[in-house]
Structures are given as structure tokens and as C-alpha cells.
Amino acid sequence: MTPPVVAIDALEKSFGDYPTKRVLRGVNLSIPPGTVLGLLGQNGSGKSTLLKCSLGLLRPTAGSVTVLGDDSWNLSAGVKARLGYVPQEAVTYPWMRVRQVIAYTAAFYPTWNQRLVDELCQRWRLPLEERVGPLSVGQLQSLAIVLALGHEPELLMLDEPVAGLDPSARREFLRTILEIVDNPRRTIMFSTHITSDLERVANRVAILKDGRIAYYGELDELKDRVKRLRIAAAHDLPQSFKIPGALRCEVAGAVATVSVNDFDEQLADHLRTAWSADVTVHDLNLEEIFVEMHAAGSPTLAVTR
């Protein structure tokens, strides 16, 4: 088997001395090459911290991250040349012109695809002769993405890359991501709140909850597994009505609405017979699944793959 591009092992990260804020509480992830991983989580769930620890921008409190074979806290220049990163807030040089920032960044890398950069600047209508300072948030973000792509990195990490982009620029960005992964050796990790973008481009999803991974696996599998059932029984259901491992369960008279995380047809058949009930199965999209998983008291999904 090919070694993972990123291997995160029992990663913990805390901030401050006392009281310590434990942001990551033991994260494990193994990301094979060619993956487009969408990282989801509520605000403050540790997405940025996870990405920064993976890039060696933050030192893990415990555990480790291995990136392209190197320990993330001791990345070699060779591995850095194969990484691209777009931070949540683009840092750049307000006094330079766009063209100059590009030339300045290019000088750091042994290889630089200027043709690709020119093409992207044109597609995203970046004003090459304008100074960076007065650019809009969206333009800055586009510029940061272009700068991260110029050396054609094998591993690209993006921290909420589309937050400042308008819908058409977002679409353009997604198209670019899809073009990048046309090469199966490329791997992308990106955090986002926009589940519809993730559904379009990601093949895997990791959901961070309370400093741990609540789900990691294929997006398709998540959608196949998590379903909402409407159970209309012949008689009133007892208040104690329960389905093991349910994310959420609401009982009102003879009708129960239950979100389950491990659906199969047998479960539906079992419920039909056990309660002589009419059972309908509703598919949930990623946004709905995310909300169900963060409902009060919902357990963490048992299986992570």
C-alpha cells in the first residue's frame, strides 16, 4: 500500500497555561494520496489548529503529524517545496503590486509554473498592476490561492478558502480544484462551512467535534449510512422507544422520527414487523447530517475508516 500523504497520530493541542484550553484531544487521521478531504466542524472546533499543526506552524502538545514522510515540526526544504497552504486570513505585502508579489513568491521555489499562474490570474480577473493593499477580501483570497498553486504542490491545504469569494469566484475555485485533482497524485485538505462545495469536490470528509474526529471516511458512505426514519406505528409508541446508536429520536404518539447512523434495510424491516409500523426512509444531505450530528446529546459515530 502507498504510504499516506498525511498521517496524524494521537494529536493533541492545548493553548494557555491555566486554565488550559484543549482544542485537539487526540486526533487520528490517515490520508492517502489522491484524496480530496473536506474538513467540517463548528466554529472553534479546531479545524485551523489541525491544519496548522499539520504544516508545522503550531507545535503539537502531544502526538505527531507526518507529512510526505517528514515530521511536521521538522519539515525539510524538500517537503516544503511540495506543500501549498492558503491561510484563513491571507498575509501579504500591501505595498507591492500583484505582479510583484507573484514574482517575489516564485523566487522561493525551485519550480514555478508561470503559465498556470498567468492563466489563473486572468480567469480570476486579478489586476496585476494594482497594489495589494486596497484589494478586496475576495481578491486577496484569490491571490493567496494563486500563490499557493504556482509551484504545483502535491499537497494543498486550504483553510476556509472560499469564505470571502462571491458565488462565481467560488465556482471558479471549485473548477480549479477539480482540475488539480485530475492528477491522481495530488492531495487536498480544505476546511469549510459550505457543505454544498464539499459535496461537489470532496471524496472524503472528516468531521471534528469536541476536539476529536466524529467521522472520517467516504462522503458517499456517510450519506448511505445516515438516514432519517419516520416510523408510523399502529399503536402509540412507548416513551422509552429507542433505537440503539440513534443520533436523535423524537416520539409523538404513534409516530417516531429517528435519525440513525448505521442504516440498512434490515433495520427498516425489523421496525416494520416489531411495531407493525409504516417506515419511510429519508435521505439526508451533508448539511442535514452535520446538524443531526451536532444535536444535543447525539453520540459520536462509532466507526471511522
Binding site: 480530496v36 462522503l219 458517499d220 450519506k223 399502529a234 416494520r272 409504516d278 444531505n285
Partner: protein, 136 residues
């Protein structure tokens, strides 16, 4: 004319995984006669571009269709629609039908239909199906 990538209508934000949508649509297009044996499916790249989805997802759907015997992989050309597979042991095919019919029967009984009324409804459906085929 080869089938175009616009053949499919994919909804990434649906609760049904994209690969499953693709499989269902290929099956539906075959059932509706819009794809016939010998037709080539549009390439993975074409579909991914047109629908703006991850090519791996399209490729997964095509592989499943290959495993299910709906299409065959033709080296250097892509995926070709096969003759419909009516083979397989009768026992398996009968079981597949039973799985489909069981929830419908259960519902019919809940609706208060008698066995006889259910039998009659099934017979009617069979007649309608036969009539539709003789019109083709």
C-alpha cells in the same frame, strides 16, 4: 451520435450520493431505451467536467456498473452498455422481486385491502405492462 455528458443530471447536495445518482440514471436511461446495448457512456472526465464533480466519484459509479454487469470496460474506449442481464439463478431474481414487493404488500394490508384485492391490483399492473410493451 455518442451520448453526451449532459445526459446526466447530478445534484451534489442531494441526500443520495452522487455515484448512486449516476448508477440509477444509467439504469433508467437503459430501461427507457435512451441508452441501448453497444452505446458508449461519456468518459469519466467529460461527466466530471460537465457536472463539476470529483472524477473519482464518476469513476466509482462506472466501476459499480461494470461489477453489476450493466457495462463493460473497453480498453482505450471507455464503458460500453451490455445486453440486459436476465440471467442469474431464478432463485436470486425471485428473491430480488420479493424484497421489492414485501413493503408494498405490507402497506396494502395497512390500507385495509383484502388478499383478493391485492391480487387483483397486481394482475391489473401486469396487464398494463403487457399493453405498454405491445404498443412499443
Amino acid at each position: 451520435m455518442p451520448p453526451s455528458a449532459g445526459l446526466f443530471e447530478l445534484h451534489p447536495s442531494s441526500g443520495i450520493p452522487i455515484y448512486r445518482q449516476l448508477i440509477d440514471q444509467v439504469r433508467a436511461l437503459i430501461a427507457g431505451g435512451r441508452l441501448v446495448p453497444g452505446d458508449m457512456l461519456p468518459s469519466v472526465r467529460e461527466v466530471a467536467r460537465a457536472a463539476e464533480v470529483n472524477p473519482m466519484t464518476v469513476s466509482k459509479a462506472y466501476s459499480r456498473l461494470e461489477i453489476e454487469g450493466v457495462v463493460e470496460r473497453v480498453r482505450g474506449q471507455g464503458m460500453r452498455i451490455l445486453e440486459p442481464n436476465t440471467g442469474g439463478p431464478l432463485r436470486e431474481r425471485r428473491q430480488e422481486f420479493r424484497d421489492l414487493a414485501a413493503p408494498a404488500i405490507h402497506r396494502a394490508l395497512q390500507l385495509g385491502l383484502t388478499d383478493q384485492q391485492i391480487h387483483k391490483a397486481v394482475d391489473q399492473l401486469l396487464e398494463e405492462q403487457a399493453a405498454r410493451h405491445s404498443n412499443d
